[in-house]
Subunit: 495 residues, 3 copies
């Protein structure tokens, strides 16, 4: 960190203050949910649960660990492709994610799991906190090399807050289904990041980059990130789906979509290069678009061929975005997008929303089965199955949630209608608002008024920060640039 | 990709055509299996299944993700040890695997899960598709730096087809057990790859390699591949075994075998170096031979000490192969083996086949238990347990497959006999056929006629491709060489 | 390996002899435990077990694979931060761990799972063997660049032996709870390693290091190790906890503690740097202290805020240790600590012991529930739940261990007292004994006499080795230094 001494104490003080605040809030609000509490034994007797395996832990934990790898290794190393920002990419991503998951546990808890004065957390909350932070990692991708860790921490503070609000509106109020987070995680994160990048526009950004031999290795490091994201994406999209078939189906659909996406990305990357070469940037990013685009519909009856079609088109569109849209955004709209998140998360996210809307609109009992659409309220605990919704309301009393699941496909039909509204509306809207800072991610924009409210909040967020003035300060933000190199020096001296 | 303009459009067109064909075929044939279909609720009621945990997803998914990591990160990074072919290793492996898994889902589906006009896929199909592609990754190891992505895609198209046929003959017709794929995956892949390498022989292959400082880092990247392969191999060998003890046992046996293999590989590597140094190539490859060699017998009652003995010997033989056999193959038989797959997959695979044959031959009710050998047909669903066989015939009606499992150890005895035939025969045969292109992997060769049929098919495969002529065209294949470096340039310009 | 020819055969002979001995001992003693044996079918009938999912494999296997990644990739790559010792770090760690897990299976088996003349191993034994080896990897961190592989193998032989004895005394005799191994794994490993490092003190150790450009990449490689350790630590601390809530809770607590630790480590790292820069060494190591410090108490009702407090303080203390204590140890106490294990494992381990003691001391039926504290002996198998203890006595007859679980929280109270003793005593004791070789890890020291016995054993271990004289021989140990570079040469020539 190369900054002058009056900034000397900002990072330590910020980190410590934030962590102290988190400790206090956790002490007041956060407790274990019934599956993680020592009273689980009583819970089992009361609910006549025959095996410890019925503990939510065994349904979700393997997926949680996969998602955890994606957030910290996947997103972190994906950003090491710039030789000078390897440390920034991995290190800052580490820092913001570690802060973000704690803050997300609180916010998502207040909105979704607040019972009798306490937030009750279990493994599903950990997954959702990781999801929320994933959205911040996406946004960071547009700002790599432009921001200091303090700016990132403050951005995380606000983005996690807005994310949770947006998620609550979409999933709880409008009952939109978004298991893989195409809308809530990727689209929101991408346009939030582009907004901040637009605010922090700096003309000479990419002139300082000197491509040198390490670039070759930098790209191999980036491939580590790409591959772990690609491999674990089925877990990402299935982590919070309904137990049983929905979780199973989400993994299969994502697997198919990602495989198709790789072939079309390679095809376009080669076709668009004047000598037919492949561009590592496309291999590292566009190949993942299939996972983003199938997120919303992954747990639905999309059918394997449906997944292939989604992957097929998103790979093409994403690569086209990297070749034509990214330079356009920077040159005309003064939006710098270091990692091309608009092409990897923004547009594919919108495709995902639309796909989800269309798929949900075709839901009916022929497709989802009589039993699947029969309201299971009152059925014996044999059928008791926890709900799929990320906002999973865990009522302590009603431990096994036997009331919720069937509501999923029963309401799939009209959910489709509801889902169609924001998504389809968001498509033209998304394009038209790009020049100006978009209102906190497209998904919101559809739901009359919400988007506007969010945009106001966000402008406040960007404007009225304690360090707000700092953001657009050329002197300060240029210092952000020194980091990558600053760390190397720090190390040479530090060790 | 440095190639002249008349080749300019080949890769994009090939990729797009293949993917379009896959979409059409998936649309016609592929649906979800009962555990992944929304009718799972009805399934549960019908089968009187008490918990969603009985969904195949929860038995297999963690192993699936581990196998997925091995295919894309493990095999990919294992091939980055050559400084100039880091991109080729990781990138091409990514491309061929992404295509291969889709094609494998279709072929294995037609042969093993084709019901009432549809292929019904679930998590077990995903694992088997990854297995099939693993065999292609093995073959690619012999061709690293010699082939273009188009050649790889076409090779994948044919190898996956032959693999599925070979697998069907061995596992379905001859009812050979090969849970870890020592024969079907590793031996087949190795000799298929060596065959192609023999066809593509190029005299001055290794003269163009300039060892430079990055080599040091290249080898650390390769260690990433090695370690993830080593760590997750227990999942590889146990992924499709019977539920319960067989899966548990397969993991333990593989764990033991791999550990023993590391010590003997290190011992031989040091002993065979004139100054007692260790050779990173042995550390990266020979240490994995134990996993290959224990594959077939892993789920059987091999006993922990049996696993140690298998690992012990395979580590020694594999290292000897790297030191003495590899140069011999190249100089005398004109077979270039860039990554030494013959020593890591070929010979250990044969050891695995023999080990499996011997172990299976000693199977009896004393070892496997009365209950284990009693045919459970008609037992209450308490005992219903899905079968272990990779060819897992999922009859929609008979969801829980309660008819199959016990047949496993009951037939173990005569299976041993059947298994002994191909394996033991393949041993001398394998050696004797090395000079000439071996007939599509040894396992086939044993089963009178099949091998010959396969070899014919394969020669056709290599000969009558649309691009067949291209393969042996020196001008063209020399261009294959430009890739590693071409990508670096592409990147410097591309970014 | 640059050594003179009279040492030429030592490594091969050592490896082969050790492996042969292991094969013989496995042949005599090691068999499968009931869950992994083919008689599992009979087991199920006898125990009226309704599903294969009740097989221990499905409770533990995902956690096992995560721990496996930590040991081989996590610890291995964490030690690649020194540019010249990348191979040594990864390669030697690979070798010692592969040997250690086999030896640990035997020793822990004799002490904990020895029934009717046989050691019965299952997935839980594999996890505990990995844990034991983790302790050796910790010790290796202090010796990186100073020792030859033979020295490491011999150190492993002795450390695994002492570890198992120490573990048996703490967990079996004193019934101390240490699920995450703060005391048994981390503190023991750290002080064992520092003892050996003190014996092998070499004045000019760090003068030979030339920081060069690859350092930048070396640090990215080290981040791979850091992140995989950080991500999978929740699995590490929960892997052998009780089924159900304890395992669930251990994961949540570790997740929270690690997240808090990152922020305070960053804060201190920046605050203690004269220009406010961050030091990669702190990012790579101190951020993990939270996982170590929460190990013992993770499965207890520590409460999420309790975990945050533990992470908060351990991050601060660990970073302070790197800045002030490490140079002090080297300059004054002549203890070289290459990777700073005293700050990452030693001190946080002691904090973990104390935290566990305090938490356990407050255990009561209000916190753990009536049912949790009621002795479940004789309850129907509905409640049968395997025990949490690492020393898990698997009586073949009593397969489902229904007698053990509740004892956990029932004895939590007085366990607290017992636990408090060694831990609290160990705190001043630990400090006071640092200058002299500490008696084989602090946890022991508390239990009158044991510590002294162990220390005697350990001095014998360090002193009376076949190669004991070699250790302190300047000529020989200087050669240890040649390794990193020697391997590069070996490779350039070897390939």
């Amino acid at each position: 960190m190369v900054w002058n001494t009056n900034l000397r104490w900002r990072l330590p003080v910020t980190c410590l203050l934030l962590e102290v605040a988190l400790v206090v809030l956790f002490c007041i609000f956060v407790r274990y949910d019934p599956d993680a509490d020592a009273h689980w034994m009583d819970e089992k007797l009361a609910g006549n649960i025959s095996s410890d395996l019925e503990n939510e832990f065994y349904y979700r934990y393997p997926s949680f660990q996969d998602v955890h790898v994606m957030i910290f290794v996947g997103f972190g190393f994906l950003m090491t492709f710039l030789q000078r920002y390897g440390y920034s990419g991995v290190g800052f991503n580490f820092l913001l994610a570690a802060f973000g998951i704690q803050w997300a546990l609180l916010l998502q808890g207040w909105l979704h799991c607040y019972r009798e004065g306490y937030i009750l957390i279990g493994v599903e909350n950990l997954i959702n906190a990781d999801f929320c932070v994933g959205s911040v990692c996406v946004a960071f991708g547009a700002l790599l090399g432009k921001v200091s860790p303090i700016q990132l921490l403050i951005m995380t503070l606000f983005q996690v807050t807005l994310f949770s609000g947006n998620e609550f509106i979409l999933l709880s109020l409008l009952e939109v289904k978004d298991a893989g987070g195409s809308m809530t995680i990727h689209t929101f994160g991408a346009y939030f990041g582009l907004t901040v990048s637009w605010i922090l526009y700096r003309p000479n950004l990419h002139h300082s980059k000197q491509p040198q031999s390490p670039v070759y290795h930098s790209d191999l490091f980036a491939m580590i990130g790409t591959l772990f994201l690609w491999i674990y994406w089925p877990s990402f999209n299935s982590a919070v789906s309904s137990h049983g078939d929905a979780q199973h189906r989400a993994a299969i659909n994502t697997y198919c979509s990602l495989a198709a996406c790789v072939l079309t990305s390679v095809a376009l990357s080669s076709a668009l290069h004047k000598k037919g070469k492949l561009d590592m940037v496309h291999i590292q990013n566009a190949t993942l678009a299939g996972g983003v685009a199938v997120g919303t519909a992954a747990e639905m009856m999309l059918m394997p061929y449906g997944s292939l079609i989604v992957g097929f088109s998103s790979g093409i569109i994403s690569t086209l975005g990297f070749v034509y849209l990214k330079p356009f955004l920077e040159s005309r709209l003064r939006i710098q997008d270091t990692c091309g998140i608009h092409n990897l998360h923004g547009i594919p996210g919108i495709i995902g929303g639309i796909t989800g809307a269309v798929t949900a609109a075709f839901a009916n009992s022929a497709v989802y089965g009589e039993e699947g659409c029969l309201n299971t309220r009152g059925l014996p605990s044999v059928l008791s199955t926890p709900p799929s919704d990320p906002q999973n309301l865990k009522l302590p009393g009603q431990g096994r949630h036997r009331l919720r699941r069937s509501s999923w496909c029963c309401r799939a039909g009209n959910t489709g209608a509801r889902q169609a509204a924001p998504s389809l509306v968001s498509w033209p809207w998304g394009v038209s608002t790009l020049p100006s800072p978009p209102p906190g991610g497209l998904p919101e924009s559809g739901e009359g008024g919400v988007g506007d409210k969010a945009s106001v909040l966000q402008v406040l967020a960007a404007g009225s920060l304690p360090l707000g003035s700092w953001w657009s300060h050329p002197e300060k933000s240029r210092q952000g640039w020194g980091w990558g190199w600053g760390w190397t020096q720090a190390l040479l001296r530090g060790n």
